[in-house]
């Protein structure tokens, strides 16, 4: 109010520009010209997450059953990653570090229940197969496989996810906190489990 009053009354050559800048800066942060730039750390972080967001989306897909839950989990993972980012030393790849934080968040986040696990699989997951080798049976097989994986428990899912991401057993065992041998044994058991889900 005061500024407006000043603006209208004070002749243009006497306007204190620094004052006006200050006012617009604090009162209207949405204006693109005065929007405060993100800090360097924020910029660096968001840029890397943006590039690697597929990893997080894939985890959200695996651990949630509808779009809302997907978005909630994505947001929570983003927050946890950001909170842990100052500790990220860069001695491992950003994506490797991300696997761990994202899976940790997915597994420990409190979710109401596993109510609609089989039925409401949002948009289904389809894997587009290049046109020359397009094969209905193959695509069907793939989506069956995917729904079998979704029926596994949280820990098994994490293992399968890392396996599908082509992580070696050393990385898988480090992320989960178990030994490499046990990770292998467990993976074989999961394969049996999937087989049983597919052919009951």
């Amino acid at each position: 109010m005061e500024i407006k009053y000043k603006n209208t009354v004070i002749p243009i050559q006497q306007v204190d520009f620094s004052e006006i800048c200050n006012v617009t800066h604090t009162s209207n942060t949405n204006t693109s010209s005065t929007k405060p730039l993100e800090t360097e750390l924020e910029h660096k972080f968001v840029k890397q997450l943006e590039e690697n967001q597929n990893i997080v989306h894939k985890i959200c897909r695996l651990y949630t059953n509808d779009q809302d839950a997907h978005n909630d989990l994505f947001q929570e993972i983003t927050i946890q990653l950001w909170k842990a980012f100052p500790k990220f030393r860069g001695d491992s790849k950003f994506s490797t570090w991300m696997y761990r934080v994202a899976l940790n968040t997915a597994i420990t986040l409190y979710r109401k229940s596993k109510r609609t696990i089989k039925t409401q699989d949002y948009e289904g997951v389809s894997f587009k197969i290049a046109s020359e080798e397009y094969d209905h049976t193959e695509e069907k097989q793939l989506s069956l496989m995917y729904s079998a994986v979704k029926e596994l428990n949280d820990i098994d899912k994490a293992l399968v996810f890392l396996y599908l991401e082509d992580k070696n057993y050393k990385e898988i065992s480090e992320t989960l906190g178990i030994t490499e041998v046990n990770a292998r044994v467990k993976m074989n058991r999961i394969k049996d489990k999937i087989r049983r889900i597919l052919n009951p």
């Binding site: 967001q53 761990r100 968040t105 597994i107 995917y146 030994t179």
Partner: protein
């Protein structure tokens, strides 16, 4: 297993229809509040500690006067010092456990740390409940052996329930003590079942799952 290998090959060529967020959309997420279990456990634990401190402060003046008159003042001071020493020890433990929780740990370590933090708070509550029980029991034994004096103080000096004779009053007195203790403990157990039962059930089963792999 052929199917899983097939899924893997398609998985990596990544033709899944995945959403794509912009820089700005991700940036706004940084400003949002977290809703993780760890955070909830932290808040609830702080709440519990405050609750117990408040309960200790809520002891009415009349009760304090009664304690002094009946000759328990010195013993109560010693008991209180002991109580707060253990109390502080628990708070230190709790903070140390809480600070250890980090999302960059392995999944097993993370869950182990969360459960350990939870357990510290559980022991703290248990200590409080058991402590309260022991205190109540000890006090009541003391009151019972000194029931003439209790009656004298309560009925004659303070004029509480002055219409009752000694026998009636003593029965009433211990009955009330018992009921209050039972209600308090019942409420705390119920609180535990509701809050932590739902909050930690899945986490616990996941942790068991990981421990099973190693055994």
């Amino acid at each position: 297993m052929d199917e899983l290998e097939l899924l893997k090959s398609k998985w990596l060529s990544q033709d899944q229809k995945l959403p794509r967020l912009t820089f700005g959309e991700i940036y706004t997420m940084l400003l949002k509040k977290s809703s993780s279990i760890v955070k909830w456990i932290f808040f609830i634990s702080i709440g519990e500690i405050i609750l117990w401190t408040c309960l200790a402060l809520l002891v009415p003046e009349s009760s304090r006067k009664f304690t002094n008159d009946i000759g328990l003042k010195e013993i109560m001071i010693v008991v209180n010092i002991l109580y707060y020493a253990v109390f502080i020890f628990f708070i230190i433990l709790f903070y140390r456990n809480y600070a250890k929780i980090s999302t960059t740990d392995s999944i097993k370590d993370l869950m182990g740390n969360i459960i350990r933090t939870r357990r510290t708070v559980k022991y703290f509550m248990l200590y409080n409940i058991l402590g309260t029980c022991m205190m109540t029991l000890g006090l009541n034994i003391f009151y019972y052996t000194n029931r003439d004096r209790v009656f004298q103080l309560m009925v004659k000096d303070y004029g509480v329930l002055s219409t009752m004779d000694q026998e009636q009053f003593i029965t009433m007195f211990f009955l009330v003590q018992f009921i209050i203790a039972a209600i308090l403990i019942g409420l705390i157990v119920l609180f535990y079942r509701l809050v932590y039962g739902t909050l930690l059930r899945r986490l616990k089963s996941n942790y068991q799952e990981l421990k099973k792999i190693e055994s």
